[in-house]
């Protein structure tokens, strides 16, 4: 009984819960801001990188190569290392603009760099899943390469990749907590401060609850989209 009491007291004490709530909530709002900013940037930049990777012709080879190097590097590097490199490395350069940003900006930059690399691959799979005959049909009508992409290929590709894209965004939401390592006062950091002050871990549970409540709706929504797609595809196959 004694042990159970201690566990409950350390992790889910009601008083600590109430006490930690305001600070952790204030921190979590920073997570939400980082998340939305990074997601918006990732959506746009990843599409750009995916399109560059698909460019045809020999003259586009350097661009394609750069895109491949970028995705390989940032998919392979753990986010925490990218956060250190951006959050501590860039200020250390003592350059104008890029060395004088807030930790919040560096945090968003690190998240964007890493997740753009993931989402590029998602977009690319979507673009490649559109049958080449769609592109032929568009080009045969006189549409240029980029018009065919814009009006015919990308709209179909994006519709197809929404579920995997949302899955990556669930990952991004949670990974905003890692940005604590460069000193952004977000939920995990606030929870740690609380815990260090009161020798109680309930604050981490509070932060976890926030993340879970944010993730579950998105996960259910993703499941719903996948189910709708499967129903449609089954109906189309009949």
């Amino acid at each position: 009984m004694h042990a159970l009491h201690r566990v409950l007291q350390a992790f889910v004490s009601p008083q600590s819960f109430r006490l930690a709530l305001p600070d952790v909530w204030a921190g979590f709002q920073v997570n939400i801001k980082m998340m939305f900013l990074a997601e918006a940037l990732v959506l746009v930049l990843a599409l750009g990188v995916a399109i560059i990777r698909g460019l045809p012709g020999r003259s586009a080879a350097p661009l394609r190569g750069a895109a491949i190097v970028y995705t390989d590097l940032f998919r392979g590097t753990p986010l925490i290392l990218v956060a250190f490199l951006v959050g501590f490395g860039l200020p250390g350069l003592q350059l104008r603009v890029i060395s004088t940003q807030t930790t919040f900006v560096y945090g968003v930059a690190a998240l964007t760099l890493v997740y753009t690399a993931y989402v590029t691959e998602v977009y690319r799979a979507g673009i490649e899943s559109v049958h080449p005959s769609q592109r032929s049909a568009a080009r045969s009508l006189g549409l240029s390469y980029f018009q065919a992409l814009r009006y015919v290929v990308v709209p179909q590709a994006v519709r197809r990749v929404i579920p995997p894209l949302l899955n990556d965004f669930i990952g991004l939401q949670k990974d905003t907590a890692l940005i604590t390592v460069i000193g952004v006062a977000e939920a995990a950091q606030q929870a740690q401060n609380f815990s260090n002050t009161y020798y109680n871990f309930t604050s981490y549970v509070v932060a976890a609850v926030f993340f879970i409540f944010l993730t579950i709706p998105l996960a259910r929504f993703t499941d719903h989209l996948i189910a709708v797609r499967e129903r449609k595809e089954r109906a189309a196959a009949i």
Binding site: S136, L141, V152
Partner: protein, 247 residues
């Protein structure tokens, strides 16, 4: 001078030679049918004329313009040449009306109202005006293929290329599509048609070309080719078609 001149065109995919030294002339308002087994090069020839496939050797001239020297604006050439595919290839994320107006709006820069008015007029002529707001997957194969033809016609092409456009259709839907092609032929549209519909070819074509192994083995008047083919391979092919009940 011919409207379309295909001169000594060769095309390979890797080691696979698909067209060997093909020469073909099509006069304005003429309807030429390409017949031959699958894989004989009919589709590739059409795709080469529309610059969807680059050719390895030879030249193609359309309406006096050399289109295969690599310097032309391929988009400008394709604008003037319509092609309709076996698998329709309508854009599934767009309504019928959007499918038909996409190229006039984005390529010809017509205003939306203008493009939609002429698209509706074309749809009315083929009896599909009431489907304008539907998505392609709500249409029958025959209806989809007629929309695909109208989509190409909306660009007011000088030449239409039809690539086995009835091959993917249920038999009872073939005639509605062929009727539309017949109308185009009567209207004077210059067309090159790859087809397995031999009786249709006999009826509309002023010239029939038999392709075999990437070569135009025999060409001539439709009635000559069908009643008195000179090449043994043509006779063999036609015999098999007759056996299958397709002529």
């Amino acid at each position: 001078m011919s409207f379309v001149e295909v001169e000594n065109v060769s095309k390979s995919f890797g080691d696979n030679v698909v067209l060997r030294n093909v020469t073909l002339e099509v006069a304005e308002h003429e309807v030429v049918c390409l017949i031959g087994a699958s894989g004989s090069g009919k589709s590739t020839l059409l795709r080469c004329i529309n610059l969807l496939e680059p050719i390895d050797e030879g030249r193609i001239v359309v309406d006096g313009d050399l289109i295969t020297n690599g310097k032309v604006d391929a988009n400008a050439i394709r604008r003037e040449i319509g092609i309709v595919f076996q698998a329709f290839n309508l854009f599934p994320h767009m309504t019928v009306l959007q499918n038909v107006t996409l190229a006039p709006r984005r390529v010809r820069n017509l205003r939306r109202g203008e493009a939609e008015a002429s698209a509706r007029e074309l749809l009315r002529r083929i009896g599909l005006e009431d489907k304008a707001a539907e998505y392609p997957d709500r249409l029958s194969g025959g209806q989809q293929q007629r929309v695909a033809i109208v989509r190409a016609l909306a660009m007011q092409p000088k030449l239409m290329l039809l690539d086995e456009i009835t091959s993917a259709l249920d038999p009872q839907l073939v005639s509605e599509v062929l009727n539309l092609v017949r109308e185009l032929a009567d209207f004077g549209m210059t067309m090159i048609i790859a087809t397995h519909e031999m009786s249709f070819a006999r009826e509309v074509a002023s010239k029939v070309c038999f392709l075999d192994g990437g070569v135009i083995l025999e060409e001539g008047d439709a009635k000559d080719i069908f009643s008195a083919p000179s090449e043994p391979r043509t006779r063999e092919f036609l015999a098999r078609i007759i056996e299958a009940g397709r002529l």
